[in-house]
Symmetry: C2
Subunit: 127 residues, 2 copies
Amino acid sequence: MNALLLVAHGSRRRESNEEIRALAAKLRELQNSQRAPFALTAHAFLEMAEPTIAAGIAELAAQGARDIAVLPYLLAAGNHVNADIPREIAAAARAHPRITITLAPHFGAADGVAQLIVEHARAHAGE
Amino acid sequence: MNALLLVAHGSRRRESNEEIRALAAKLRELQNSQRAPFALTAHAFLEMAEPTIAAGIAELAAQGARDIAVLPYLLAAGNHVNADIPREIAAAARAHPRITITLAPHFGAADGVAQLIVEHARAHAGE
């Protein structure tokens, strides 16, 4: 089964982590309502919240995932994107040798970001 | 004229700020290639980089903007979204009383985020 793991930064603010959980729930709904590219979805946090990346991958593995796409939910490519997340993914790959784990570019690099910015701004513009 | 001001956090990392400038350039291109909802677009940084929000709004005002939609390019609603950006927008509104400035919800709250996550992950998934 294909799985998607959304990796957020994690925050000291409980509300910010709740935003991620709500987004993960929305991702699950999307999978149920569409031709689902991912049979399973989960979320994880890089720091300051749980589940960790290792726990997120272990949970997906326990549910039967065989291919996991990991998507860093970050806008900029800093050390988290370039070093921390790849290191954790490499460790998880060693822990789950029968699972293929693919690391997508961070969310800020997604092709549709500029278009979504314009649509979001238009929906909330003054006139 | 309608204008869009993209407000990013700003980073010590030069490359992260360059990502924002590249995104702002892409926004301008989108405006040129589509029925443009915003005649003008600009970007600004909350901290650690320039232009500031005040400078971004002053620049758009100088170019003839009359309605400016400000879009916080942040994934989570923390103090920046709830306090810092509204305070700077209020100050800019006082400095430019003939301009209508509207603050959109932060980017992470945009309706299309979950859909874009799925598309981005699918485009980069293993198989």
